[in-house]
């Protein structure tokens, strides 16, 4: 449960960062492209301006009847084409002595000088300029990238700091238990929203604790208060039982009343005991040997075992010391065995095994009809026919919970199996 919640909260940070990241990538690409194109346009414009100037110089020379020719940078020849125009273009050239083609910007012009038409081609190398372009864009790119990384980290750190209060609250909530004695207090958060959240949670927790406490007190009071009237009714009925010359019907009425009354008493006692189990301090733990307790329980239940002719098959070859309250362990084991006997068939078997630190009790019995997972719930009964009050296994479960004993039930090929994992309550001795 804890890991679940922290997983969700990590997602929250990621989610916030992710949105920032998307936005950032989008902006960065835009910035990068703009820088690239702006720089490139600037370079081209400058090159074109330069080419135009050179061509104008060439025209000046032509006017003085000197034709400058310096291929490939400037080439002039007479043209038959008589439409005067300027065409700018890009091309690559392999210069003599160079082993790579170089990018060039070219101006192709047809001009009319002194009544004659000339074709002038001016070229300028873009090599250096392109290099400059790459350099500028790289620097911009790196800057953007660095900024992005930095921002992501900062964002994460900031989010973490912001969410710290939130995490503290979550942590406290995880530790919260409705039957805790102390008031549920959350630290004051620096963020108003979280502060409000904490206040609401404190209010809710306090309310829950108080409601739970008063409900428990009420149950306890009720159970105690009911004890005396029950005692009076019981004793009156038993006294009535002693009346001379009662007829058969009266006996039957008394019998049924007394039986129902003792059922109420049993329920009452069990609930009182369940409530008492909540006060863990009442039960001091000590090192108790399991096998001995099992033998004691079997001994005390011997009459029932004989009555149903049940064979006990015990496969325990070592002792296991548990850190537990002895009378609670006794109640735990007696309740479990009573259950195995009660739901067993005549001439059935009860198997007791200790594998690793796990105690497995199996017994024959009818297949569970409905909801085996409800066996440990309060007042759960498979059949209305029996007289059980349905609290025995609830008590077992509660004791197990108190000592971190993992209890499981399965039905496997005609056998009811209950396993108790004692790994959390072993002592070394």
């Amino acid at each position: 449960m804890e890991s679940d919640i922290s997983l969700v909260s990590m997602k929250l940070i990621n989610k916030i960062s992710r949105y920032f990241l998307y936005l950032f990538i989008f902006i960065s690409i835009g910035m990068f492209l703009s820088i690239y194109f702006i720089t490139q346009t600037a370079i081209t414009d400058e090159a074109d301006e330069q080419l135009t100037k050179i061509r104008d110089e060439a025209i000046k020379e032509l006017k003085e009847n000197r034709a400058v020719n310096f291929p490939p940078f400037i080439e002039i020849e007479e043209s038959n084409d008589r439409s005067v125009r300027d065409i700018f273009g890009d091309s690559s050239f392999l210069l003599r002595g160079a082993n790579e083609e170089e990018p060039y910007r070219t101006l192709f012009s047809i001009v009319k000088v002194k009544g004659r038409f000339y074709q002038i081609i001016v070229r300028t190398s873009l090599e250096e300029k392109e290099e400059m372009l790459y350099f500028v864009t790289s620097v911009a790119g790196i800057a953007i990238l660095l900024f992005m990384i930095l921002f992501t980290f900062l964002n994460r750190a900031a989010s973490k700091k912001i969410l710290k209060d939130f995490h503290t609250t979550l942590q406290k909530l995880n530790e919260f238990s409705i039957d805790q004695k102390e008031k549920f207090v959350l630290e004051k958060a620096n963020i108003e929203e979280f502060n409000n959240l904490n206040k609401s949670l404190e209010y809710l927790a306090d309310k829950a604790i108080n409601e739970y406490r008063s409900l428990k007190e009420f149950t306890e009071e009720l159970n105690h208060e009911i004890q005396t009237p029950l005692a009076v009714i019981k004793s009156k009925l038993e006294l009535m039982l002693q009346t001379e010359n009662l007829d058969k019907d009266s006996y039957s009425i008394l019998d049924i009343s007394l039986k129902q009354l003792s059922k109420i008493n049993r329920i009452n006692k069990s609930i009182l005991f369940l409530n008492k189990l909540e006060h863990k301090k009442l039960f001091e733990s000590e090192s108790v040997e399991l096998t001995g307790e099992i033998n004691n329980a079997l001994f005390s239940l011997n009459d029932y075992i004989i009555a149903k002719n049940i064979s006990i098959n015990k496969k325990i070859d070592r002792s296991l010391f548990l850190w537990i309250n002895q009378s609670l362990l006794n109640i735990l084991i007696v309740n479990l065995f009573s259950n195995s006997i009660r739901h067993n068939i005549y001439n059935g078997i009860i198997e007791i095994e200790l594998i690793d630190n796990e105690l497995i009790l199996s017994n024959n019995g009818k297949e569970p009809a409905y909801n085996p997972e409800k066996y440990f719930e309060r007042f759960y009964k498979e059949s209305e026919l029996n007289e059980s009050i349905g609290l025995g296994l609830t008590i077992v479960k509660k004791i197990c919970d108190n000592y971190g004993i993992n209890i499981k039930y399965i039905y496997d090929s005609g056998f009811h199996k209950i396993s108790l994992d004692f790994n959390n309550s072993i002592t070394e001795s």
């Binding site: 009076v232 004793s235 006294l239 003792s262 008493n265 239940l301 009555a307 009573s338 009660r342």
Partner: protein
């Protein structure tokens, strides 16, 4: 035999006259229980026994009474409206250390039990209890105090040696299991009373009883006990009362 709950002068005098006689046979018992209905039922149930019973509903009256009379047995409720039964118990034990004490409590807490037994109570019974159980406990306290000298119970052909846990039928020692012995002693303690199966069951098998629905095997144990007695006696002491339970006595009833 005599139950006296008030302080009516006439009644008191009457009681004192009887006391002289009762000194030698009956036990003087004081019941300190604030729940009047419960107290009256207990007194009614104990009527058949050989006790003279005084009762009171309050701590202060009880304190007065234990100073005036030397009781053999005290039944004390822990929670009294004007005081704690345990404090009263301490005082009682100072005045009259020989007095047998049985605590009656609505709270089944180990602390009360330990404290109670620690300051001299002989037994502890939790509400709600079976009247027959209370009766058996009182008798057990009396027996432990050896008020009757020897610790033997004789009933018809039966003789029970409490100390040795031995049963004789017409002077023949019979071999009983632990449960059968407990059964018989419980029956003898509540002779001529109708005991429900559950009452018997809870006494003999203790707290585990609520774990089982079928009381059928109680019948098996009673059948065996009956057989062991009738082997040496012509009397059938254990009579079944319709479906409800059993009654122990010499005469067939119903």
């Amino acid at each position: 035999m005599i139950s006296c709950s008030g302080y009516d002068l006439f009644e008191y005098k009457l009681q004192s006259i009887f006391r002289i006689e009762l000194l030698y046979c009956g036990m003087k018992l004081i019941l300190i229980e604030d729940e009047r209905e419960l107290a009256s039922t207990i007194i009614s149930y104990l009527e058949g026994e050989d006790y003279s019973i005084d009762n009171t509903y309050s701590y202060s009256k009880a304190e007065e009474m234990i100073h005036l009379t030397e009781y053999d047995i005290a039944l004390v409720d822990i929670m009294l409206p004007d005081g704690n039964g345990l404090v009263l118990l301490e005082k009682l034990k100072k005045i009259n250390p020989q007095c047998g004490v049985l605590i009656i409590s609505a709270r089944d807490t180990l602390d009360d039990k330990i404290t109670g037994l620690g300051i001299g109570a002989d037994d502890y019974i939790t509400k709600p209890f079976h009247l027959a159980e209370l009766n058996a406990r009182i008798k057990s306290v009396i027996r432990r105090k050896h008020y009757y000298g020897s610790n033997e119970i004789i009933f018809g052909d039966l003789k029970i040696d409490i100390d040795k846990r031995e049963i004789f039928v017409n002077n023949n020692l019979i071999d009983l299991t632990r449960r059968e012995y407990d059964l018989l002693l419980f029956f003898v303690s509540n002779k001529e009373r109708v005991l429900s199966k559950e009452t018997i069951f809870e006494h003999v098998w203790g707290d585990d009883s609520n774990l089982f629905d079928e009381l059928d095997f109680l019948y098996t144990h009673i059948k065996n006990l009956r057989k062991k007695i009738t082997e040496h006696s012509s009397k059938n002491y254990i009579h079944s009362v319709y479906g409800i339970g059993y009654k122990f006595g010499e005469h067939e009833t119903n």
